[in-house]
Amino acid sequence: MRADLIALLPELMLATLAMAVLLAGLASGKARHGLLGAGAVLALAATGVTLWLAAGATDPGAHFFSGMFVLDHFAIFFKALFLLTAALVVLLSHDYLKRNDYRPGEYLALVMFATVGMMTMASGVNLAVIYVGLELMALSTYILAGYFRREVKSHEAAAKYFVLGAMSSGILLYGLSLIYGATGTLDLATLARVLASAKPGPSALVGVALLACGFLFKVAAVPFHVWTPDVYEGAPTPITAFMSVGPKAAAFAMFLRVFIGGLAPLAASWIWLVGVAAALTMIWGNVAALTQDNVKRMLAYSSIAHAGYALVGLVAGGPAGVNSVLFYMLVYTVTNIGAFGFVILLESRGYAGETVADYAGLARRHPAAAFGMLLFMLSLGGIPPTAGFMGKLYLFAAAVNAGYVWLVVVAVLMSAVSLYYYLRIVLQMYLREGDGAEPATLVAAPWTERVIWACGVAVLVIGLLPAPFLAAARAMAGAVGLL
């Protein structure tokens, strides 16, 4: 019992602190942005420390709560990543909430609740636990997407996200029920054993298919990506940044855990499904991004494309594949948060009014920030010496070794295509003059700028010295039991 509670301590702590923040926000109203923000960041940091202590105090191989919950290195890596993401997003949101005059309390609390959900997803080795974590994350995100009550687009985002999200989670749940019926268990380890022993019937296969649909929806893979552009465009930009990295990474955590772990015996049947989905996702995401003028929307499609790249690593499978996905998630997180941070800086003309044209000549007026954006764009495009290149290199190498050359060909070709639209922004910033009318200037947002700086440095450091980070990812998923 005691060990169980220790393993669960980080989640318990974060949940408690989130409620505290909620009530504190209630007491203090709109006024205390700084205080609540600081509180949230501290809470996340404290949770990080707790995670570290809990990891030290428990055996990575052990199972808790009668085999429903683990705290293995895989889970620790992702939890740390989630906490980092949440902290960065909170910092991004600070100036933004203030500027748009919305209550910070519920906002911060919801971000923390979503984080709790993601952490649970990373640790669950029982489909029920994973599903509960998933729903906690999803429900919090629905609300966050619609948090800007006075904005039509924000509402629309919430509505669409809710309808489609609910649908997908329903489909996922139905798949779970079929799998449960076919195997009589929701525990991944037992599931793997049962599936390995006996050839699964059609109902199990349909269950797996529906499960895959649910997961693919959460990572925004074609054809379940339809919600992404509208939701990303409509949601408050910090939340878009959050959705594009946090929940996506969490979805990948559960994807790896469930498919590489529990459903490994059925790999033969699902690997092609996922592989084709990955190819379609890369093609669709990149091609559709080409014609976008709204930067948030373009980044939405780009995040679809990146989900495709990461799926390549999933298809590759094996320790190398899993490592590459973990590493890619890290790379993608710092890069994308930085990019959206820049979008936030530019959001000076009303809500979400940022077209590519607004970027004209920014390099002249804000050389430092523009240089940061240049880094992020190059990293997303996968050009050395940025982190993105390392991530892709490592993913594709894993896939090639696993023998999926055709996927890698598609991936490399598509990342070449992607440069069209990433460079459009660089072109605007560096090679164009702002139209004389009213050149878009960056709003003063010290914390957002600090986040951008941090991300920029991270992108460069990871790009030039990836060894330690790769080593970390490797140590984390080195012994890929996942069960």
């Binding site: 629905y142 509402h155 309808v163 609910a166 649908m167 329903g170 489909i171």
Partner: protein, 100 residues
């Protein structure tokens, strides 16, 4: 005597109703009901299977799903309320500012 198969057919029917309903109905509230249909179809499965397998996991999970469904309904209603306050409509076809 009702066999698992019967329940499965029923749940499949409910599931189909729900999914198709979500794809064809305009009224947000109806769509919300369709969500409930899907989740409860899954619940039926869980309970039927757990009875067939003589294993309680399914029923326990069903309880959790009920709670989650409640929370989902609550949030859905919340979104609807906000939507009505802003647009005076529950018609999803009128929620189409963003596209392309």
């Amino acid at each position: 005597m009702i066999s698992t198969a019967h329940v499965l057919v029923l749940s499949l029917a409910l599931f189909t109703l729900g999914v198709v309903g979500m794809a064809v109905r305009r009224n947000f509230i109806t769509v919300l009901m369709c969500v409930e249909l899907i989740l409860n179809a899954a619940n039926l499965n869980f309970i039927a299977f757990s009875r067939q397998l003589g294993d309680l996991t399914g029923q326990v999970f069903a309880v959790f799903v009920i709670t989650i469904a409640a929370a989902e309904a609550a949030i859905g209603l919340g979104i609807i309320v906000a939507l009505v306050r802003l647009k005076q409509t529950v018609n999803l076809d009128q929620v189409n500012v963003m596209e392309g």
